[in-house]
Symmetry: C2
Subunit: 347 residues, 2 copies
DNA sequence: CCCTTAATTGTTAGCGCTAACAACATTGCT
DNA sequence: AGCAATGTTGTTAGCGCTAACAATTAAGGG
């Protein structure tokens, strides 16, 4: 009765023989297809002998379960959507890697949607894309302060883990403690005897940018130092360069805590051109510890974040939500400072 | 007769109301479910009036097609798997972005599998993962010479586009013309009057590493210059630094073409420490033009590759394979040189 | 040795969609 | 008007899988 026609007109790559189905395995093992289903789903009530025969049949036929069919009936795709911006940056890219690793280890597929510019619309687009795909959950890798709100408005009915969020809202979060990182940087400078410590911040509508600035401020206030030397950059080396040119003539600070390594690179370049020596005249601390930071001129003292670990934690959190239905929460990864040649006591 | 139970025990996020199906839309529009299917698939033979009513019903109910059900019957998942290594690097990350953009624009989903170390096994693992998912095609973003062979052995029955391959084998390819890029770099140095031009290459078992070295060699031979000054690095800034320390004492070349920007950064650092001035004593050219290259000390002359365009071309090629069943082939993106302060005529 | 309970296996229905075909309505032509 | 050709809509079956339930077998207790 079975009518096995090749419906698709695409023939170049679809071999004539169809892939084996549960039914084929069942026939070979001399059991019903349901028993095979039980074996591949690890149901307890299958006798050892039967399980063995079925597993043998599966191996012989090279059977692989059809994901679409399973998804249709279980309403689970075993796919996680990663909604990301800035994927070409070191941090987000590595976080994605962490998510991917943890996901694949747990038997999940990872789908991505990159957004070019952060806006409620672009986020909604990407989320819709994921809903069309039927993802089981979404990891939002969009470290922007508007992300939470934008996602909240969508009323998604899948769990969402937001990277960089501390999990106050409806969504779970996973983050590196940015404030702590900033404090580590500033305290390192204070220990070396600096009194005038400036900050080149990231954009303040980016979560990390705001948090690092806040950590810088807290550390200064706690030490009784002025927190008035702050300029906002845009994360790029170019903005660090531009700001560095201004700072080089201003002579306001003996140390600068820069919001990320790339802006620090631009700053170092501007200082170099202007004859401001680092660290003799001004000490510089970055943030991220991207692999190149140790080869800047001079090698950069910076704050290391373990992005892959962050990604893995995200996925762990997602799995908890998915499998135990656990409530919202947050997991925090601790950064640490890496001291190199760009910092020294003031002259 | 329909028994609409919620089978899954996971309730936290699965709202009570089920998503609307074709049937629901059909009922609302007063047509059969098949007519609705025709509308969403843009079949020609639907009257304007009917189409209008159906579209209204779709909008009112917020209907979205169930991907799993469609995949089950069409045997197409509309998903492309991107098999990638080195995703944390600027180039591959941006290529991925290009693929993602082109894919989403074409209504495809993008799934990723990252491999930590390149080996036949890890590639096979990732490919199996994709086959389990039922991807329609695979984009291999693993710029290693062994990739083609490893993929070939798997006898995949989906189209494969290999990034960096010129499409000689069974698979289609998309590449930036690495040899041309290298020639542009070397010819720039020759034009400035350099006679002794060394090369710090990437690993020779990486496609790009080998191609760039070959381009360097060709340009030198064509100009009648010696091609004996070559050292192999591992792409990292650290390896560039180590090699730079040796070159600084050797004084063998007046110009160095470095396989990528990161190694160039390390080289610049080593030269800076050793008192070798760039470009006065030695000119340096990099490869990639990552965004930071213009802020190195000194700003780096380098070869720009348009990675996003490369990614888009990959996806275009994939779509051609998928929809027209076109044969294998290759598309080539041209690099161009960006001249900055790290190169000058020899003293 | 029969009856209850538990363990194991089989049978049936249906997830939501598209392909194939059947049925019906419309148009144009002789 | 009558008939073919075309355009439009409906009906049916089945993609490969899992859930629910039915059926069978094995084990234990009086």
């Amino acid at each position: 009765m079975r009518c096995r026609l090749a419906h698709n007109s695409f023939m170049a790559y679809s071999s004539e023989r169809r892939l084996p189905r549960l039914e084929d395995v069942a026939e070979r093992a001399g059991v019903s297809h349901q028993t095979v289903s039980r074996v591949i789903n690890n149901h307890p009530n299958v006798s050892k002998a039967t399980r063995g025969r079925v597993e043998a049949a599966i191996a012989e036929l090279g059977y692989r379960r059809n994901t679409a069919a399973r998804s249709l009936v279980t309403r689970r795709s075993h796919t996680i959507g990663v909604l990301a911006s800035e994927l070409s940056q070191y941090g987000p890219a590595n976080t994605l890697l962490g998510v991917e690793q943890a996901a694949r280890d747990a038997g999940y597929f990872v789908s991505i949607a990159a957004i070019r510019e952060v806006s409620a619309e672009s986020i909604a687009d990407a989320a819709r894309h994921f809903m069309d795909q039927g993802v089981d959950g979404i990891v939002a890798l969009v470290p922007h302060t508007g992300t939470l709100q934008a996602l909240d408005n969508l009323n998604l009915d899948v769990p969402v883990v937001v990277v960089g969020s501390s999990g106050e809202g409806r969504f779970s979060g996973a983050m590196v403690d940015q404030k702590l990182g900033a404090r580590l940087a500033v305290e390192h400078l204070i220990e070396q005897g600096h009194k005038r410590i400036g900050h080149i911040s990231g954009p303040q509508d980016w979560i990390d940018g705001a948090e690092r600035a806040e950590g810088w401020r807290e550390a200064l206030v706690q030490a009784g130092l002025a927190d008035d030397l702050i300029v906002e950059g845009d994360w790029s080396a170019g903005s660090g360069y531009g700001i560095g040119q201004q700072l080089a003539v201003a002579h306001a600070a003996t140390a600068v805590f820069v919001g990320n390594d790339q802006m620090a690179l631009g700053l170092l370049r501007a200082f170099g051109e202007a004859g401001v020596r680092v660290p003799q005249d001004v000490s510089v601390v970055g943030f991220d510890d991207q692999p190149e930071a140790g080869y800047f001129t001079p090698p950069l003292t910076t704050v290391r974040q373990d992005f892959e670990e962050l990604g893995r934690r995200c996925m762990d959190m997602m799995l908890a939500l998915l499998e135990d239905g656990a409530g919202a929460g947050a997991t925090v990864v601790e950064p640490r400072i890496v001291v190199r040649a760009s910092t020294a006591p003031p002259a």
